[in-house]
Amino acid sequence: MSLSDVFSAARAESRAALIGYLPAGFPTIEGSKAHFRSMIESGCDLVEVGLPFSDPVMDGPTIQAAAEQALSAGFRVRDLFDVVAAVSDAGGRAVVMTYWNPVLRYGVDAFARDLAAAGGLGIITPDLVPDEADDWMAASEAHGLDRTFLVAPSSTEERIAMTARASSGFLYATAVMGVTGARDVVSSAAPALVARVREHTTLPIGVGLGVRSGAQAAEIAGFADGVIVGSAFVSAAGESDAAVRALAADLAKGVRSAVAPV
């Protein structure tokens, strides 16, 4: 199973894929494994396993606090592979979302090797642009991992084209100019960005930043191939596993009730 299979399977059902994020080790290592199992069982087609980092500049308060909690509870990078393996064992598919410095420190090739061995499918790199990614291009090729780079409303056509060429699996379109965090309305920039990206690539496009409800998921499913939900899952995980399951179920229903874009 590769990332493109995840998206083809959803496409075969004429729906968008649901992608859920949680930091590994939040609230604990075992707790995060349990939440990931619940997300998979309740309808996430793919999970993003976040690597808690000390300086998360792309994240809003919810994910910052979760990462801080995981780190102060003693989370280590090697635990990430353990969590990814648990997702694979549960029949789920995982990509890792990580700031680049921990990967650099671990060794780009070694990180790719250990992630692939744990059953991970790729890495989403919020602060690594293709311009700086030579080592990662080589390591991902060597270990058969997909590369998800981000595009933003501010990206030029040239950069979108270049970023799409460097990516595999799927592209991550950031719906708003801003950091992670649940928002009440889907940004109007998102459909426009997805339309621009489609001019340059046939890769599936996931849309994230600010999604928290089934209704928002349905709206995004109307124009994107994947709906990415992060902070809302972190908040749910802060409540209970039942809340995680309920959120995943609501979102899973949403991606199956796509509304046509206005």
Binding site: D55, V57, R76, V77, R105, V129, L150, A152, M177
Partner: protein, 406 residues
Amino acid sequence: MGQFTPTPHDPDARGHFGPWGGRFVPEALIAAVDELAAEYDKARLDPEFVNEFKRLLRDFAGRPSLLTEAPKFAEHAGTRVWLKREDLNHTGSHKINNVLGQALLTKRMGKQRVIAETGAGQHGVATATACALLGLDCVVYMGEVDTERQALNVARMRLLGAEVIPVKSGSRTLKDAINEALRDWVANVDETHYLLGTAAGPHPFPLMVRDFHRIIGIEAREQILEKAGRLPDAVVACVGGGSNAIGIFHGFIDDADVRLVGVEPGGSGLDSGSHGATLTAGTPGSLHGAMSYVMQDDDGQITEAHSISAGLDYPGVGPEHSHLKDIGRAEYFPVTDAEAMEAFALLSRTEGIIPAIESSHALAGALKLGPSLGPDGLLVVNLSGRGDKDMDTAVKYFGLADGGQA
């Protein structure tokens, strides 16, 4: 050579100094740093921009700053010492050079809102000053810990019309203030310029900030030749992010016989683990947008820096310093809090100049370096700022309020 003349030491088009530098930022910010780089490339060659910058340096900041011999301090160093008096600039430190340049660029780009981070508050005060002068809106992010130890500078910034936002995340110091400024920038990039205060961050900041501070080295070289009749044996500067050091180093970088010496904050000593000596004890990594030496643990988590000087309390360093260290053109070593405070007191007592605690690290470095040069040796020390802002720390450290004597 002019302040903005391209040099053989410039980074490549994407900001790489050898393997260092570059752009490790979210895609959402690439358009902004591209715009900034393009605007700076035009501005640095535009006589109108360069002349306006020079005019502000002269008529507002008070440049050129003096080069003052410090003979009584020098007796303790065992060699001749001259001080480059950045402490005499308006707002009390070298920081004004960079903020005036970037504030002019902000106007040029048609942006109205400026955000900045600050540690000790010197950069925040300088930014608030430039924004008041040029009619820009100003928001300064400052770690909550720093707002407490530099309360007077918070008041200064507010008086100048800036909004100061205490940052409560992470270690609540300079690195977290930078994180928060970056988050603000991503969300408001269309109308906002991030006026970064040191020669670090993504390209073009390390190049641009260095160029705005090159005036320090250009003046110092002319002044020492005129006053001492020869080049110094070494130029000494403190290094936190490294902006004052890179500014003075560049005046002498092509003078192969002049040693370039950066003095890092050794805190309680390197063995204690409580320090900010990034170049001496750090390892390669990416932080705040560039590859450079950083202080991190085995997992690549950034560790907290510790220094008695809030302005040096930073676990990263500008990428050009990493490059200069690697190629052996500059050398870096730490001095402890205690050594810096001793130099702080010594300069005050012997020369009637109260230095910033940041700059006191450079002075302590000169005291260490001096004996090996002997009485005929010659040091230029960058006195990057004045110590008024540090009186609270000094009062506590020396017990001055209880009749103590430094």
